[in-house]
Subunit: 442 residues, 4 copies
Amino acid sequence: MPDREEPNARGLFGGVFARGGVDAGDTAWLQAMLDTEAALARALERAGLAAAGAGAAVTAVAKASNFDLAELGRQATGTGNPVPALVRALHAMLPGPAAAALHQGATSQDIIDTAMMLLARAALDTTLGSLAEAAAAAARLAAGHRDTAMLGRTLLQQAVPVTFGLVAAGWLTGLDEASQRLAAVRRERLAVQFGGAAGTLAPLGAAGPQVAALLAGELGLAEPVLPWHTGRLRIIELAAALAGGCAAAGKIGRDVTLLAQSEVGEVHEGGPGGGSSTMPHKRNPVAAIAILGCAKQAPGLVATLTAAAEQEHQRAAGAWHAEWQPLAALLRLTGSAASWSAELLAGLAVDRAAMRANLDAAGGLPMAEHVAALLTPKLGRPAAHDLVAKAAAGGRSLRDVLLDGGLTASEIDAALDPAGYLGAAAEFVDRALAAHASAVRP
Amino acid sequence: MPDREEPNARGLFGGVFARGGVDAGDTAWLQAMLDTEAALARALERAGLAAAGAGAAVTAVAKASNFDLAELGRQATGTGNPVPALVRALHAMLPGPAAAALHQGATSQDIIDTAMMLLARAALDTTLGSLAEAAAAAARLAAGHRDTAMLGRTLLQQAVPVTFGLVAAGWLTGLDEASQRLAAVRRERLAVQFGGAAGTLAPLGAAGPQVAALLAGELGLAEPVLPWHTGRLRIIELAAALAGGCAAAGKIGRDVTLLAQSEVGEVHEGGPGGGSSTMPHKRNPVAAIAILGCAKQAPGLVATLTAAAEQEHQRAAGAWHAEWQPLAALLRLTGSAASWSAELLAGLAVDRAAMRANLDAAGGLPMAEHVAALLTPKLGRPAAHDLVAKAAAGGRSLRDVLLDGGLTASEIDAALDPAGYLGAAAEFVDRALAAHASAVRP
Amino acid sequence: MPDREEPNARGLFGGVFARGGVDAGDTAWLQAMLDTEAALARALERAGLAAAGAGAAVTAVAKASNFDLAELGRQATGTGNPVPALVRALHAMLPGPAAAALHQGATSQDIIDTAMMLLARAALDTTLGSLAEAAAAAARLAAGHRDTAMLGRTLLQQAVPVTFGLVAAGWLTGLDEASQRLAAVRRERLAVQFGGAAGTLAPLGAAGPQVAALLAGELGLAEPVLPWHTGRLRIIELAAALAGGCAAAGKIGRDVTLLAQSEVGEVHEGGPGGGSSTMPHKRNPVAAIAILGCAKQAPGLVATLTAAAEQEHQRAAGAWHAEWQPLAALLRLTGSAASWSAELLAGLAVDRAAMRANLDAAGGLPMAEHVAALLTPKLGRPAAHDLVAKAAAGGRSLRDVLLDGGLTASEIDAALDPAGYLGAAAEFVDRALAAHASAVRP
Amino acid sequence: MPDREEPNARGLFGGVFARGGVDAGDTAWLQAMLDTEAALARALERAGLAAAGAGAAVTAVAKASNFDLAELGRQATGTGNPVPALVRALHAMLPGPAAAALHQGATSQDIIDTAMMLLARAALDTTLGSLAEAAAAAARLAAGHRDTAMLGRTLLQQAVPVTFGLVAAGWLTGLDEASQRLAAVRRERLAVQFGGAAGTLAPLGAAGPQVAALLAGELGLAEPVLPWHTGRLRIIELAAALAGGCAAAGKIGRDVTLLAQSEVGEVHEGGPGGGSSTMPHKRNPVAAIAILGCAKQAPGLVATLTAAAEQEHQRAAGAWHAEWQPLAALLRLTGSAASWSAELLAGLAVDRAAMRANLDAAGGLPMAEHVAALLTPKLGRPAAHDLVAKAAAGGRSLRDVLLDGGLTASEIDAALDPAGYLGAAAEFVDRALAAHASAVRP
């Protein structure tokens, strides 16, 4: 197969966009289609609709390496999808009785949609594994830095103190929420597709639903209420859950690129780091960048898959076809973003000293809210707010402001200590860890 | 308020895009913000952090009609959101003790995000009502046409027979699936936002989480594990569930526009129909068109909301702001699509005679699959397939082909009767109805 | 008109998202439709197809304030668009001969599409004005800081030195490119729509094209080769040009939020700044945030408008309708982003001292590329690169590395002076300014 | 290279989504990167910055087949892009003097962006060729069917008559407009990228701009005003122009699927047609479906590429990376849609008899507008409109209505003849053909 080329797999950019083991490339697609045909043959045999041994016979030859993927692709030109050519090729490999059972009752879409579900299941399993690793690492960071004060930043401006534990708890909660949704979709929404030409399974007579149930059982997929040829809500749900995985990772990637800025320096990616070919001193946050590079492709893919749900009658003319590559890309990219996240978080170096230094360098301003609150009982809120704002803008120190406000030296020290103005940060960390613990418990 | 203008409400196009009662216009936004401030004052009072009566005092003045919406909008220019101006205006209306409690511990984002959740809840309640009406009508259609044979159409070509009951069952299943997801999001994912400047609730000291819980209770929203200022997965889930509602409706709209085509004429919208200003004979499927007009805006909005989940640190610089209007638009459009669907399905005229006539006019070709299957035991599948294909392409009738294949006259009649080739259609209808019945049972 | 509410105009969030004077609200839509009807009446009169005075009569009553916008919206429910109701209302206001000429030859889509073009033209004129202001300010910044050295930052890490003039020149070039494309679309692609029910102008007999030409002339719009009812490329081009405007602004917004970070502090927005209700010390980059809030909504809207170009036959069932509000939103948001950009750039405070201090604080590392290059002739590239990388990673200063490499003290000073490693920055600034000068010259 | 797999090339689905010769697969990417490195070496040599022969030496080894693509992909993991590994591999193949010139002054982004432009150029050339073929075929259809009357259809309802020539002229105009925009982007906006680490070309001293100009000359790309590392408007313009190509093709695909419906049957795709594996009688419009399958992926990709234009400082952390695969996919899909369009239009069978029969079967209703217009002088417009509407709704024939309205038999025949109500259809066809002729003239 010299010109076999895989749309969704490794290749030149796969190190960045196909990390982590999700395989939604052409060979994986082909194998999933073959797995579906083989399972169908077994189901037909179990239903008494195929000769004994037909299932095993189809299963025996249904290996991607037996087929010329590129040739199947070329033949797809005549029909708009590769299944008819695949069925012909399979047919030619089988003895008569097994050949007679092949693809019985099925339409091309049954094979492709079910294969898509199999690909999705494998991808979700891999991705959920990566997300679990990432969440475990985030939990360690949250626990380990439960009380590590750092600057909170809103609208990219220094605000009030937070803890790095709280930041990591936010990442953890995002990863857990994304995982829960992906797990729910995997459990409830990955269903077999089997309806025949127009969803009635007419060629199988009264046995259609039984075969559908057996097929679902063979493949370990859910059995839907109806064939869902043009009812694509499960694709939207799958796509959105994947986008959620990308978003949870993307939040981490965005924060790490910002916290790793040369001027901030509060975290660094572990490992060798991304050296620059031209700038020997640079240590690029490669994992965070790769996460963002993956995650930023998700919204457009979700839009494509959502728009594709408008499908005509019993089989769509184009909208269905438009799902195959975007869904494969989204599976791959989410898996990659999750894998990068696991690596990033496992190796993340957190620089407590830099966090402390940045807090100190802010000269008390992150405590301005606290100071204003402390002065409010004495001065009223507007006057307290204005006094502090003036201090922030002009040259006076907050310490002087506090002296003017009538606070004692020890009151002032307390007012300006970030550790004294962390509110519920630690409690929130504990809650996130508890929620995580209960989420991972089976 | 002479220049009050509402971004998301009725207006010139609201008859099409804002039907059904979802209100995500500016006044609704303002009221939801006020409801949040009032609930916070009550929560603070219950926590002992505000003077007795403060909650009632804020609640008493927190009515949108007390405020100049356009003026708030103008003042939002200085801060990037309207909350600071709103808090100033509220403050001016309150006696000192209540004023002191106002907005305590909160940041602008707490108010806007919580208001967004309140808008979403009201919108989902309205939309779920419309979807339930639509599903009930679809169920009636499915039951009433359980055995009404019609042409199935794949890739916009006539295929094998189906029943209109099965078509309606597909619509029903879509509506039910969309409703279930929307209901789950409404139940589990609409959470209060209350974290203060950077998510620690520091101004409230140790009382922060208690106030957050009380606030959630006051508003009837879920209490999140953590403040979710920059953890936006629930927005993605909400957006995707709304897009699912649009997709379920859009499937119906697409099918109805196709089935109502002049050349097909199998269904017609009830009611006066969309007369044309220039073509007196036209009867446009206005509801189906309106559904599509709404639903086609969903994918882009979902992309926007998904992309906006990449938010910096403790508050995003722009990505958060980019959510407000798209989410309001998506709430409104989904509500409108659902409402149009309920009307369309309740009034849909199904023309059994046209369905039968179209089947008859197809000259047996929709039965070609059946015929090929019947001939297969005698001729082998390839020969049977080819024979029928030749009949389909050329001039010979399927009846003649069957005679050549050695079938008897009564076998031939059976072979060509659509009612005899409906497979599991009726069983699938029953399954969809049963699933619907169990879905709507509380 | 007590319940008139405008979807795309000011309101509660208009200070952020509808700044700058682009009006694509309902009243503007209505007026544009009326302008089209009036121009058509005048065109018909000039073509001898309407009674003398008919054009003036229609023109006289065609004022939005004469109509009940909400009532038109309600009546749109019956037809899917407000034009039939509008024509009826206009008809009732006119004397018989003028009434007879009203809407002659036109279909609803002719009126709405032409109105959309008129809205777009007004919006582009406003937006191009704002972009020109922004570009003029960017040009002043580029010229004024042609030689102001600052840190270049790649992948959010400090890299080699650049100048702020070069940064501003990049902004300028983006604004100019976006303006040129918007101006080209305005000039070449905003065309009248006039084709009647199905694009043949049959009711006007042989006079159709003449009336179309006169109508184009009345309105100052281009005359298309054909009616473009379902040929929507000009909408895609318009949408993409608007997205280009958003992107040019968004680049500025992104850079300013980053450069204005508390830890970087190299630029600050002028004006009062966005004070925080809770944190008196904060000075938020409100304009930059508002730009990003607008610009981040563009990609989804472009997706919607691009997808909507798949339109059926002679008039689309839903895809056309799906364009109205997204295009209006995109016009408004682009205008707002452009206006915010003009304000931001006009008032931007550039802190040369902070730029210098950040360079100095980097301890020569931004010069590492330079140093490595200087050492390469002596050590070979790999060894030079490694030596510098080691210095960057570990404790040794670049100065010591250079000494080891055999450079003299004055060579070392030169090697470490950012001003000596700015390459073509100044030349590039000059080129951008020259391109700008030739772009704005009529 | 056993595990070389290509993301954007043929494979299992390439017959559908990668038809027509656009190659944006990994090998093409790699070759384009190598072409850029080789051209840079030649440019450096011409500028006197590299040893004589360095350009030829690099050019000689810069062949994709010399490299292990998958290994480069693996090494990309460490840096986020494959260029550093590629430079190392190239370096190892070169003699010292040539090695010293390699990649001089360049940064990874220079290589990738320039390669992207080279891929785009080749893709546009191929795609413009396909579009030209398609347009030529559309022009033949328009000319050949200039006067072939058929039903116009609005909102998927039969409306007034049009001609198939006018339909084809609409397709032609779309193809021509898309081609013009693509050609303009190819001519004006595909520019070399060469700025070095942060856009100053500092390592080349004063020679930077000269080398950039020589590089542009070597590659035949435009020279930009500035390096455009984070100024991505040209990517948006390219993406939008490609989406325009997809939209022009998609309009054809949508119309052909509708006109080829079994119930309409006015056109058929030529060639063997898409036989169904299960339904021997089916003749699927495979080309039209494939076009739609490609075109429906464009809006999401455009959204991704538009959103990616928000890039930080001098190099983006993720947004840049997010462009590579979506742009390659969009190039490939547009080329495929264009190629399918050329094939579809060249072989399209137009069934004049079916068009006439459908007109006749409509029973004069498509002439209702005409009839109403003829009756208006006698009855007034509202009465005429109502009379005809009643006829359309109820049982009376239009002929009887006309008799009641006082028309003579010959007036009635004229009133009901579609050929007499085609308005400017023929003139519009001629205009489209003339515009096409002037567009293709060099």
